[in-house]
């Protein structure tokens, strides 16, 4: 807290000095549009021979504060001809620009503009932005795209549709919050995840590390993923179909259709995925046909089919006087999934099936300059009816041969007997954001979010099961203040967050495991978080970022209430509380002649209390989230990107994080055997590299041929605490080297695209959570039509 106060005092003093010195200035403002009169976002507006400049916002608007005088202003953006004008600015001046598209920029133009990703990176927070557009034609899963980002590991439990766990800078999956256009992804229902959101609908993905902007309005500890969907200025139809190994089919359609100048827009989305996931499990144990012995060999997965449907229709108005955006939408999603294994692959299931479906209605309203200039309001409200059923109605014991014998315990519930357990989790979310730009350099925002999740359980097979209805309600109130100095060279952000967690526990099943009898049936608790971030550009290709947050992360519904299949509830889970520090250094160096080099290096420290960690209960193959009282996470990561004229692209990143138990004594006062040990079952050193080359005008005019190769390295790690048993006897996930290649051919300016991808090129053994084996070599073909 002392550090926070000190940091805040310094930055506020600085802001006061700069504000006073800025009082004799006049404002130059205006808009930048393209030749079809559409606003141009992120165009660079630079006052030549002065260290002053800015970027246009999503409306194409820019604003600069200058001392009265004569200036040469240059406006530029990749893909457009740059413009220079001489202006005499004596008082508040408006100057609009119209940029002409430059179709040949990839070949010859000097890149002076900055992409949205680069612009975002120049904020005060530690953030990466992934341009999905570069991958949308080849990658069949968004999680795979994110997995290649520095500091991030995505760990899947198997093939298409499997659950996954994502970590950012060493913080595990549920410490990470997921958003879609700033709204929690949970609001779309439990069926919608990174693994099945249609890639075609996405513009970019923002990855916030450690410190999360208050505008997201929710709690997070390790970071956040914000998926930003396409906001195209024109109508389009985007259709794709892919087919691949393991009987995988993926169909996706998304579009945008506006009606004239009414501002009325319809955006339909539909996707369907199907896969048998019948990939080969290598070196597994199975039982001979006469059941006389165990054998070891390769067996194909036999009960892992996945089928999902997702449909969404959004309609509303944009760019009206009364609203920048007003949309209502309805969506439906459905997943049928066979369950092949428990939390470890030693537990083989042959009949367990999960069915789930959800309906969602959503409304959002956004208006900048509401009532007065600089006042912005954004409101989202969403309700989801989420219903899943886990079917576990046999007393069979399967092995990897696909054969079984009748036993006396059910596959999943074990002693709980046969069941068809239903989970209804209605979810209501309301998010409002009120912001005010005091002037060009200062803005404040107030954010409120409500998240209410019900957890109704009942059983349509086991009559003895007593229905329950738990409820978790969270309120988040956040305030933030942002400032910008030295013509945008320095950005600071301050925020305070208040969290209220209200829990109602009704369920009593497995009470000794879930702790349902040991917590108050109804409880309300309050927590406070705060933080500060700053970014300063030292010289043009070098900027530094520093951020700190006292973060609180309330346990997620999955952690508290379980997932109904492989995760037990744990009502005794405490919120994670962490002191997060980030120091980052980044820059982009335009070397001329089409060479561009970007780099970043980050150091981070997380001092976490009540760290929430997934633990497997071996005796049942079930998982449960538990608190580890104190964990320190320290680490560094770095990335280098090189691009030559948009043809040759190379990227390499490496991440190291060291998460250790920092709790010296047990609650009984005994010295803890795990004190100082690395947290198990978490990758701690990993790296990615990517190399691609794009040929232009190959065969057909306006065509592109892109060949790419990417490589992943994951250092081995222990499954259990390293203090448990001698190293030679301990189970570990071995070092992995995974290579993927892809080939993309597109023509007619990207209207038609066909791609082929080979994943796990060398058919290496790949493992993930608790040594669950992942697919071997696979092939995937995709055709995409973009009109």
């Amino acid at each position: 807290m002392r550090l926070f106060k000190y940091f805040t005092t310094v930055l506020l003093s600085l802001s006061l000095c700069v504000t006073l010195s800025a009082q004799n200035k006049v404002v130059l403002s205006g808009t930048v549009v393209d030749n079809s009169n559409q606003p141009v976002f992120a165009a660079s507006v630079v006052v030549k021979s002065h260290s002053v400049g800015t970027y246009t916002d999503e409306k194409g608007f820019y604003k600069l504060e200058l001392a009265p005088g004569k200036y040469v202003v240059e406006v530029s953006l990749m893909g457009y001809e740059s413009q220079e004008v001489e202006l005499s600015v004596k008082s508040a001046t408006k100057k609009n620009f119209v940029l002409q598209e430059n179709a040949l920029f990839l070949e010859s133009a000097k890149v002076v503009g900055k992409s949205k990703e680069m612009t975002l990176r120049e904020g005060a927070y530690a953030v990466n932005a992934i341009n999905v557009q570069a991958m949308v034609n080849t990658v069949n899963n968004l999680a795979h795209a994110i997995d290649r980002t520095t500091g991030i590991r995505v760990r899947e439990e198997g093939g298409v549709g499997s659950d996954f766990d994502l970590s950012i800078n060493g913080m595990s999956g549920n410490s990470i919050r997921y958003f879609i256009d700033g709204m929690p992804l949970d609001a779309k229902g439990s069926n919608v995840t990174l693994a099945n959101i249609p890639v075609n609908t996405i513009d970019r993905v923002e990855v916030y590390k450690g410190v999360i902007p208050a505008s997201f309005g929710t709690d997070a500890l390790g970071g956040a993923i914000n998926i930003v969907t396409k906001k195209a200025k024109r109508n389009y139809t985007d259709f794709s179909y892919g087919y691949g190994s393991f009987s995988t089919h993926k169909l996706s359609y998304t579009g945008q259709y506006g009606i004239g100048k009414t501002g009325f827009v319809i955006r339909p989305t539909f996707s369907a995925d199907y896969s048998k996931n019948n990939y080969l499990m290598k070196g597994v144990t199975y039982i001979s046909e006469d059941r006389s012995e165990f054998l070891t060999g390769d067996c194909r997965r036999f009960h892992d089919k996945f089928h999902s449907l997702y449909g969404r229709l959004e309609l509303g108005f944009e760019n009206r006087k009364w609203a920048d955006e007003f949309f209502v939408s309805g969506s439906y999603s459905k997943i049928d999934k066979d369950i092949q294994t428990g939390a470890t692959q030693e537990w083989v299931y042959g009949m367990v099936v999960r069915h789930s479906q959800s309906y969602n209605v959503d409304a959002r309203y956004k208006k900048n300059n509401l009532f007065t200039e600089g006042l912005g309001l954004s409101v989202n409200a969403s309700h989801t009816w989420d219903h899943s059923a886990m079917v576990d109605t046999t007393y069979r014991s399967y092995d990897w041969s696909g054969r079984y014998i009748e036993g006396t315990l059910s596959e999943l519930s074990r002693n709980g007997g046969k069941s068809i357990r239903h989970y209804k989790r209605p979810l209501t979310m309301v998010r409002t954001n009120l912001s005010y730009d005091i002037n060009a350099n200062h803005s404040i925002a107030l954010n409120y979010m409500l998240n209410r999740t019900g957890n109704q359980q009942y059983d349509t097979y086991n009559e003895l099961f007593v229905p329950t209805n738990d409820m978790v309600m969270k309120h988040f109130v956040n305030m933030s203040y942002n400032q910008s100095f030295f013509a945008g060279k320095m950005n600071n952000a301050f925020f305070v967050k208040d969290y209220v967690n209200h829990l109602e526990v009704r369920q009593t099943e497995h009470s000794s495991t879930t702790g349902s009898q040991k917590v108050e049936a109804v409880s309300t608790k309050n927590y406070l978080g705060y933080g500060v971030g700053t970014r300063y550009t030292i010289v043009d290709p070098a900027s530094v970022k520093l951020s700190y947050e006292h973060a609180v992360r309330l346990p997620s519904s999955r952690e508290l209430l379980g997932n109904g299949s492989t995760v037990y509830a744990n009502f005794q889970l405490k919120p994670e509380i962490s002191e997060n520090f980030n120091l980052g250094f980044f820059g982009t160096w335009d070397m001329g002649a089409g060479h561009q080099l970007s780099y970043e290096a980050n150091g981070f420290v997380r001092l976490v209390q009540n760290y929430i960690k997934a633990t497997v209960t071996e005796k049942e193959g079930m998982m449960q989230y538990q608190n580890v009282s104190a964990v320190n996470v320290k680490g560094v990561d770095g990335e280098i990107r090189y691009d030559w004229r948009g043809k040759l692209h190379f990227m390499a990143n490496a991440s190291f994080n060291d998460s250790r138990d920092n709790n010296r004594y047990t609650p009984e006062g005994m010295e803890s055997i795990t004190y100082g040990c690395r947290v198990p079952n978490k990758p701690w050193t990993f790296a990615n590299a990517e190399l691609s080359y794009t040929f232009h005008n190959v065969g057909l005019p306006s065509s592109r041929l892109r060949i790419s190769y990417d490589y992943q390295y994951i250092h081995w790690f222990y499954l259990t605490w390293e203090a448990f048993g001698s190293a030679s006897t301990k189970p570990r996930i071995p070092t992995q080297h995974i290579s993927n290649v892809s080939l993309l051919y597109s023509w007619a300016d990207g209207r038609y695209n066909i791609s082929g991808e080979c994943t796990n090129l060398f058919d290496a053994l790949a493992y993930d959570n608790y040594k669950l084996q992942k697919p071997g070599r696979g092939f995937f073909l995709k055709f995409r039509l973009f009109l």
């Binding site: 165990f294 036993g407 120091l583 005994m670 100082g676 203090a723």
Partner: protein
């Protein structure tokens, strides 16, 4: 531009150095490196496996944090303190600490019963232990689940009989394994069933083979309903079985006045020992009776020529509480681990103490060291004592989880001396003696 980049590069390197130095300036907590320790020197004709658990005691699968095992060749005081950090074998990744032990081998149903029935042994290479699986066989007809079965040895130790109940606890199933190859020799269902008033079989029961007249005693408990665990709502029955045909020769209820329930009804003797034969061939079984909603131990006897408990005999009169484990020391003396009901009954309660039972005059007394009673211990589900070579080696972790230590009771002299110490901070669960 080049100049700018150079200065940027310098700044970059400087900041990386700062980051690294920030990470380094606070002395990092090193991964605990196991310290080399001297190779153990054998002092007994057997080896000892010591089990400890992390965070809480491990019996009854209570511990989800991990149970560690180390093998030592001696438990005498001259041995170095037994360390567990980064040493030994973590048992609970695959196996249960509850196991059948005979000779040098372990036999058990692992955590995941899809792995069938497993026979393994522990190899000690220098100071490094490892588990070597000798044989595993799939279940064919009857299936058993980890920790939930009882066993006895037949045919002079060549056949291992395993008995368990089904998930609904209405029938008892059995399988005979060849002790050498684990081949399934025979499997079937025992002809016993619950009654109208007591509808549920206990999870495992207790199987005991009496060699003198070639009979198997299957002690089992019937409960009024599933999930009931108190003795007052239970009845105990004894089925006498022909080991060749597995036919039930006799199936009688034990009068509540004699015994309401067995000491352990769920997990056979996979960890805690509950019966023994004396030199005369008389069978002693530990059980439970209740009074005033509290449970008290009894030790009942079946004479060599009888198949019923002698209602007039109880070796444990005026018990302070439930008896947890009992082992025969010879010459009419038994070594028992008992609870003092007044000090608490929770799994973690420090309310258990070691006593010597005189089976002839039916008196018991606390084990003393230097003229004082040894303190109370925690660990309701533990077996920290073993009788071997004229001595009883027993583990003590006194109040407030002080020093984990082995004490040695010399059976002939009755003298207690300290033995080896174990690393603190862990919950001491089991001492097992195995053939080398």
């Amino acid at each position: 531009m080049i100049k700018n980049f150079k200065s940027a590069l310098k700044s970059f390197l400087a900041i990386v150095m700062i980051v690294l130095s920030v990470l380094a300036c606070k002395e990092p907590v090193p991964t605990p490196e196991p310290e080399p320790e001297p190779e153990p020197q054998p002092t007994a004709d057997c080896v000892f496996d010591l089990y400890v658990s992390v965070g809480k005691h491990g019996g009854m699968s209570q511990n989800k944090n991990g149970t560690l095992m180390r093998r030592v060749l001696s438990l005498e005081a001259d041995q170095p303190e037994v360390q567990f950090t980064g040493k030994g074998v973590e048992i609970t990744s695959d196996y249960t600490l509850e196991s059948i032990v005979k000779g040098k081998y372990y036999y058990q149903v692992p955590q995941n019963n899809a792995k069938g029935f497993v026979k393994f042994h522990v190899e000690l290479n220098g100071t490094n232990e490892s588990i070597v699986v000798d044989k595993s066989v799939p279940f064919q007809k009857n299936t058993f689940y980890a920790r939930k079965y009882t066993h006895t040895w037949l045919d002079g130790g060549k056949t291992l009989l395993v008995v368990g109940t089904d998930s609904k606890h209405v029938k008892a199933v059995y399988t005979k394994f060849d002790a050498e190859t684990l081949a399934i020799k025979e499997e079937g269902v025992l002809d016993i069933e619950p009654t109208a008033t007591h509808t549920t079989l206990s999870t495992a029961g207790l199987a005991v083979y009496r060699e003198s007249d070639n009979k198997i005693f299957y002690f089992y408990v019937l409960k009024a309903a599933e999930g009931i665990t108190d003795a007052a709502s239970s009845i105990t029955r004894i089925a006498v079985i022909n080991p060749s045909t597995m036919a039930i020769e006799s199936d009688k209820m034990v009068q509540n006045a004699v015994m309401e329930s067995l000491t352990g009804t769920a997990y056979g003797e996979l960890m805690q020992e509950e019966h023994f034969f004396d030199e005369n061939g008389d069978l002693y079984v530990a059980g439970v009776k209740s009074a005033d909603s509290k449970e008290y131990g009894v030790v009942r006897r079946i004479k060599k020529t009888s198949i019923d408990f002698d209602p007039s005999y109880n070796a444990l009169v005026n018990a302070e509480g439930k008896i947890l484990t009992i082992q025969y020391m010879g010459n009419g003396k038994a070594f028992a681990y008992m609870r003092n009901e007044e000090l608490g009954t929770a799994t973690t309660a420090i309310s258990h103490a070691y006593s010597i039972l005189d089976l002839e005059n039916c008196k018991h007394s606390r084990v003393q060291y230097n003229g004082s009673d040894l303190g109370y211990c925690g660990g309701r589900f533990s077996q920290r004592s073993v009788v071997v070579g004229g001595k009883v080696y027993f583990g003590v972790t006194e109040k407030d989880y002080g020093q984990n230590q082995v004490f040695i009771y010399d059976i002939a002299s009755g003298k207690v001396t300290p033995g080896v110490k174990l690393q603190n901070g862990l919950y001491f669960d089991i001492i097992r003696a195995l053939d080398k």
